[in-house]
């Protein structure tokens, strides 16, 4: 393949990480991570608590530098200033309460200085409508439920139409109905590449690819059908799982039936 062709291929990739090591204070939590995500693709990161999922997401969001390896967003470095919002949108697992209304919060996702212009306000209105937040636009964020807040911060991340959306545990505080609604919403996101860290196996099954991280490395990666098997989940996550596939092609269900032998022996710790 010519250098130009290779460069074009990389340019189509929204994010590409090669030989990445990520961690804290110079100590690697994960090593040798290779990940390339294209537009419209959804990738789930699975792993036990403390396995390094959030650390990896923070590096992919440009919030921390990798300890080793190469990282490119659309074939180049992450731009500075508000232009960054058009490349990466990041939704954290938890945020401190903010004193803004939902509309003000979402408008801050534009990444620009100054009051929003008319076209920008139209963008805000559109994303509020997409997330079902139009009725709540004037509500103070402090009065939102967990599910409403989750939609508001996703709207804030999406308002600048980023090429890459990173979600950290997006379903962790949601009731079953809100969780199902978020699953549906993620299925409808086709303009972005999405990378999400989750413990939600059903959500991971809806993604195009799954990467399981643990023991300081990527333990398994591939299509959900290949990775989310009882054997892989038992060895990588330490749980015995029964997978219930829908004969009509709907999403798979997962039922945790116990701990893997190596965990059960020491009481799940």
């Amino acid at each position: 393949m010519s250098a130009v062709a290779a460069e074009e291929m990389h340019a189509e990739q929204v994010v590409r990480a090669s030989g990445l090591a990520v961690g804290w204070n110079g100590r690697a939590v994960l090593r040798d991570i290779d990940l390339a995500v294209e537009s419209g693709e959804r990738v789930a990161l699975l792993g036990s608590n403390g396995s390094g999922k959030t650390t990896l997401l923070r590096v992919l969001a440009g919030l921390a530098a990798p300890l080793e390896g190469e990282l490119r967003w659309r074939g180049t470095a992450l731009p500075k200033g508000g232009a960054r919002c058009r490349v990466v949108g990041y939704v954290l697992q938890a945020e401190a309460p903010v004193p803004f209304t939902v509309r003000q919060l979402v408008a801050l996702g534009l990444g620009t200085d100054g009051p929003p212009s008319a076209p920008q306000l139209a963008k805000v209105a559109r994303v509020l409508a997409d997330e079902g937040l139009t009725e709540l636009a004037q509500r103070p964020c402090s009065t939102l439920s967990g599910g409403e807040w989750q939609r508001a911060v996703i709207a804030r991340a999406l308002v600048a139409a980023p090429a890459l959306l990173l979600l950290d545990e997006p379903t962790s505080h949601l009731d079953p109905a809100r969780r199902a609604a978020l699953h549906e919403r993620l299925l409808r996101l086709r303009d972005q590449a999405v990378v999400l860290a989750t413990h939600d196996l059903e959500l991971a099954a809806l993604c195009d690819r799954v990467m399981i991280v643990g023991d300081g490395r990527a333990m398994a990666a591939g299509r959900p059908a290949d990775v989310l098997t009882a054997e892989v989940l038992e060895s990588a996550l330490g749980v015995r799982v029964r997978r219930l596939d829908d004969p009509e092609g709907g999403p798979s269900l997962f039922r945790v039936v116990g701990l893997a032998a190596r965990f059960a022996a020491r009481g799940g710790t």
Binding site: R58, A61, G62, L63, K80, G81, G82, A83, R84, C85, V88, G89, Y90, L92, E95, A96, V98, P99, F100, T101, Q104, L108, G109, G111, T112, D113, G114, P115
Partner: protein, 316 residues
Amino acid sequence: MIRWTLALMLLCLAAASLGISAGPAGWTTPWHAVERLVEGDVIIASLRAPRVGLAALVGASLALAGAVMQTLLRNDLAEPYVLGLSGGASVGAVLSLLLLPAVPPGFLAAIGAGATALLVRGLAGAPYDRTRLLLAGVTLSSLLTSLTGLLLILAPEDRLLRSASFWLFGGMGTPRFSLLVLPAALLVLSFAWLVPRAERLDRLTMGDDVATSLGVDVPATQRYILLWAVALTASAVAVGGLVGFVGLIAPHAARRLVGAPHRAMLPATVLLGAALVMAADTVARTAFAPRELPVGLVTAGLGGPFFLTLLRRANT
């Protein structure tokens, strides 16, 4: 709309303050006071107007410094002196009164405040670790307050205790217009830097990670905010002494009136701060005339009930 109402209120208050005299003349109506100011009346133009201007400047500067300090530290209890600036300013002022009695204490007080800010920033170590910054500020403030007390107790003259006490609670004195130029320029410059960047300050309130992901250069913005807050506080202290409370409550009152986004909140904070200190200073110079109260005593006396009323209104 609320901001224009506040601006109008400030102008009316300024005109009223110009007309209120501590002397036997009593008070004149605000429009007569403005008329006399335009005609160049010595009392109004040379004595009262600079004093009213000084009160407005001190209030506006401290209020703006308090607002951005609350944003920087993401702490509702932050105020201009929180990083030990009051302690540094007190030591500077008392040393000035002790060693250079002929010189107004403001200059050394501003140097004391600025030096303390630098020291706290150095002691805090890691870049803008808010907890370390606050702890270093509180610790240094305690140390410097003790040092101020020691200097006052060991001072050879009682006169020092009296003049220092007056300054420590905010002593405005009778300034010349030329004294107001530097603090006014600093207020205008800081306002002109901060307001166009209001949305960055909004993003900072959501935490460093969110702000960075939304395109804010967090360390640079924090550095500038700290610089402006310290400069505004030092200049206010230099010309007005330690006026407390206004830097804490003016931003909170502004948020309740116009909301939390900085684009509306910062101008409202500046107007409220100016109005509060102007009103307090008018009371301070007239309530017990011919004796004058330190204005800091009155800011708490006037601001406290005003803020409690706002809180009560918000709860109902």
